[in-house]
Structure formats: structure tokens, C-alpha cells
Symmetry: C2
């Protein structure tokens, strides 16, 4: 079974403004759309498009938490395991106007020791060879120490750990020893504490993580595709240029699809190709995507061992 964990879920509030942005005046939207989200839940959603079941653990509270809960009720592939928290899940505003975007992300509820205890109790139900995916940001009240505690619990169950979180350093990853991570290039620079990583030196940097105990490193590179390191072997994903209109959720789609295909085929090249197609499918539209949208992008991507 695949588990996803979203510690700080959100409702994404996509709005379009009629004009440029006015400070100290009222801006008005011409279009608006709510979408229950959070990176772990996004992973579960993309898994469900591929007919892959997952158990989505999420910390939910308030009227926004209720909306998130309701949004996943009718998805037969997602079993939501909510943990009730005090406070109200955040709303992340994504405002589009002209060719710019304004993102204001909420902070979300404070989580307490009880909530952490309940979360660890739920995680302790996973079994050998399960996959446990932790995505997104830390809520207030939690930090890398808690992530390390979760990681140790996952390893004690002999399950596979995937981490796709912000504010993670290589030191933390050395302690967590995930099977797979999927930063983008910017996040990878933060992990390695090196802002000057480019395609010229990225391979050496990825190898360092390998040495520290991260089995597979998948770095998404936006329109440049992605690079994967597994067992000293690099895989290069390249893609045709597309007109990207959406920056939200493309990396989550890539991760979910890679995972789903690895579990079913155990073939890295095939899995990475599907992952690239899913990333393109999400980036190409502001709408929700389906399986066909992913499949249609397969001819735009190639994967080679390098």
C-alpha cells in the first residue's frame, strides 16, 4: 500500500484578476476556483488517476478541513485518514493577472503533542514494503526532529520512505535515509546548501546524497525535464518545450506517477517517462487532468541512461 502524509493541507484559491495589481485599493477577481490540496493529497490524487489506491493521512481542522474531507469522499482510490486538529486549515491564494502570479500561502494550524502522538499511532499501522510519502511543509509545532522520528518509525516497519518537503537539509536526509527524494533544482540547491548548482555540476552533488544514504535522487528541472540517480546510474529525462500555464502540482504529479509505475513495472526508464508525461500534463493546464491527458504527453518525453 502507498501512504501519503500531508501535515499542512490547504485549499488552493485560484483567482484571476481583471487588471494589474493595485496596492492599498480593492482588486477584484473575474474568475475564482477552490481546490482541496496540499502536496501529499496531490500525490494521492494523481495516483488515483492511474487507478492506484493510497491511504492519505492529513491533519484537518475547521471549515476548510471539512471541505478538504468532503472533496476526497467520492474518490474510490483514496482512503482519507483524517486527524482532527484545532484551528483551521489554511487557504493558499494563487492570483493570476497579466503574465504574473501572486501567491500568498497561509500558515495553518499549530499542532500539539497529542496530534503528533496520534499521527505516529496511525503510521505504526504500515507494514513491510509499504511506501510512505511525506510531502509539503511543516505545520507550526513540528520540525525536522519530528520528521526524523517518523522516518525511524517507517524504517522500523521495513517500509519505503519518500520525502518531498521544504526546508530539508542534507544532514536531515542523512538521518532520515529516504528511499527517494524529488526536489526541484532550487530546492536541491537549498538541500545541498549550494545555490550554484547547474546542469554542469549537478551530478556530483546528487552523488553526495547517494553516499549519505538516499537511495534514489530525482531532481525535476522544469522545462529541462529531470535527472535521476539510482545506484550510481544516471537517467536523463528530456522533454519537448511546452507552454506551461500552471506551476502548481507538476512536481507532485511527477513523483506520484514515478512511484506508481516503479511499483507496477520496477523499470526506471518506463517509470521516468510516465513521470515526465504527468508533469507536462499538469503544467499545461489550470484544469484538473485525467489519465488520458498524461498518456497523450508520452510522445513528448524521452529517457536515456547517461
Amino acid at each position: 500500500m502507498i501512504y501519503t502524509l500531508t501535515m499542512n493541507p490547504s485549499i488552493d484559491y485560484f483567482v484571476t484578476l481583471s487588471d494589474h495589481l493595485l496596492i492599498d485599493e480593492v482588486n477584484r477577481t473575474i474568475d475564482e476556483n477552490f481546490k482541496a490540496g496540499g502536496k501529499g493529497l496531490n500525490v494521492s490524487t494523481v495516483l488515483s488517476l492511474l487507478d492506484v489506491s493510497s491511504i492519505a493521512i492529513a491533519l484537518l481542522g475547521g471549515f476548510t478541513g471539512e471541505y478538504i474531507k468532503q472533496s476526497f469522499l467520492n474518490n474510490q482510490y483514496i482512503h482519507l485518514e483524517p486527524i482532527e486538529v484545532e484551528g483551521t486549515n489554511r487557504i493558499n491564494l494563487k492570483a493570476h493577472y497579466n503574465h504574473s502570479a501572486l501567491c500568498i500561502n497561509g500558515k495553518g494550524p499549530l499542532i500539539d503533542e497529542n496530534t503528533k502522538h496520534e499521527l505516529l499511532k496511525k503510521i505504526s499501522k504500515i507494514t513491510k514494503n509499504d511506501w510512505f510519502v511525506i510531502s509539503g511543509s511543516f505545520p507550526e509545532g513540528s520540525d525536522v526532529d519530528f520528521l526524523i522520528e517518523i522516518s525511524q518509525l517507517v524504517h522500523s516497519k521495513e517500509a519505503n520512505l519518500v520525502i518531498d518537503m521544504e526546508k530539508i537539509t542534507k544532514d536531515t536526509l542523512q538521518k532520515c535515509k529516504p528511499t527517494l527524494i524529488k526536489p526541484n533544482l532550487y530546492e536541491f540547491g537549498l538541500i545541498m546548501n549550494n545555490p550554484n548548482i547547474s546542469l554542469l555540476n549537478i551530478k556530483d552533488e546528487m552523488k553526495k546524497l547517494n553516499t549519505l544514504g538516499v537511495k534514489q535522487v530525482l531532481v525535476s528541472l522544469g522545462e529541462d525535464g529531470a535527472l535521476l540517480l539510482d545506484n550510481n546510474q544516471f537517467y536523463r529525462l528530456e522533454q519537448e518545450k511546452i507552454n506551461a500555464v500552471n506551476k502548481v502540482g507538476s512536481g507532485d504529479a511527477m513523483l506520484a506517477t514515478y512511484l506508481a509505475k516503479m511499483i507496477s513495472t520496477n523499470d526506471i526508464c518506463t517509470s521516468l517517462r510516465w513521470a515526465g508525461a504527468a508533469g507536462i500534463a499538469v503544467a499545461s493546464t489550470l484544469e484538473n487532468i485525467n489519465f488520458e491527458n498524461i498518456q497523450q504527453q508520452l510522445n513528448k518525453v524521452t529517457v536515456t541512461k547517461i
Copy 2:
């Protein structure tokens, strides 16, 4: 009985940013707070602080509408009369950072003929001498013609009509013939199609509206207080300078308090003094206010016939 009508309710999402505003990057909040609102509902809320009952008609839909509904359940002075609409009530973002504020107001649901019909049915229950207050913006699907239809229905019941709406012109007001309007100086300029109204010429402009059939004209002037015209008599509200931290809801508080006191005392000077105090109380804080907060401001305002 006082009725308030909010055709386009909202949840105000107050957030504070840690830093200046970044375009095309993710901004993060350090504090956030949800508040069920909309101008008519704000009027009902302030009336309730004065122990005055009202019936609040509001068009509600989606998870945000449910939150608004729940927010008013426990207020013994507000009887909420929801009209269910398709779609989802909007969220209005109010982001504070440094000394600036960014407001992004949603559009809200489209209302259809059925909804309008149901609304008119509810309004037809009002009786002689009731007060009917219409506040806020038009939702998509409605316009001034619908406002005129509502106005005629209110008059046919021999009830009193109060209008505090955006995008109203003097031609519309001539057709609606409200007992009272309460624009601020900027809105008053839009009504009169004259952007150059100042304290020098405002009295002549207010008289014009009187002639067109608006019985009382109350123009709020921010820190300059307010000016009221009734039956060819002007009343000047002046106030001490305050440190205004909140621009939202001050005018609604002024209107609600003026109305409540006029109904109980029929004394314009007393009512206007309380109205000024309520405006100050709201403008002075980002928190919810209570009766004592209003009362404490009374010594900061004076009213004179001029």
C-alpha cells in the same frame, strides 16, 4: 423589525505577511484569521451589539456559505434567513504587511431567476414601518433593475428603505427613493458623477439628492466625521483624530448604529453621535468590538446643526 440584505456575502480572510510583497514568488503569512462578513451581515452584527434584533437575508452557497451560516447561529439578535444558491460564496483577502494593505475581493456566485424570485418572496413578508437595509455589491446575474424591483416591493409594503451599495447613480436613487443612504465621500462622488466634491461644495450636492427623493443623506468622511442632511437641515459630526488601523466595516457600524438609535430615540443628534462613536470603535482595532467599545468613544464626537 429591521431586515438586512446581503446579496454577495463573503468570508474576510485577514492575513499578515512577514515581509514586503513578492510577485512571482511565494509569500507566507505569520498570522491569519477568518471572519464571516458582507456589508449587510456586518450591519446586523453591529445592531446585535446594541441589543437590536434583525433578520439577515443572505444568499449562501458552498462550504464558505456553510461557514457563514454557522457563524451566525449562536447570535440571539440575528435571525439568519439564508437563500441557498449554487456556487460558492467568495473569500475576500485582506493582507497587511509593513504599512500597506492588499485587498483581493472575490466575485461570488452567479444568481439566477429562481434565486431572485425566492428573494422577492422573502422580502414580501416585511410589513409597514419595517426597515429594509440593502448593503454591499451586486452578485453576477443582478443589476440596478433588480434593485429598483426590490425597492418598489419595499415601498409597496410601506416599509423604510436604506441603500448602501456600490455602483449606484443618482438616476437609480431617484427610482429607488430610499429613506436613507450612507456613502463615503468617494462613493458619493461616484453617485453624483462628480469626482471633485469636497467640503466646499458637498452641501449643494447633497441637496440635489434630497430633491430627487432621498429623504436622508449621510456622507461619512473618514477622520473628518460625517455630514447628514435631513429635511433641509444639515448636521455636522466631528470627531477627534484617532489612529485608524482598520478600514473594513467602519461605515457599516456607523449606519447600523444611526439606524438603531433613530428607531429608539427619533433624535438625529443623539443617533449621529452614537453612529460616529461606532465608526471610531471599529476603525480603531482589527479585533471584534463590543457595546462598551462604542460607548467609550462617545466623548470623542460632537454633533452640531449647521
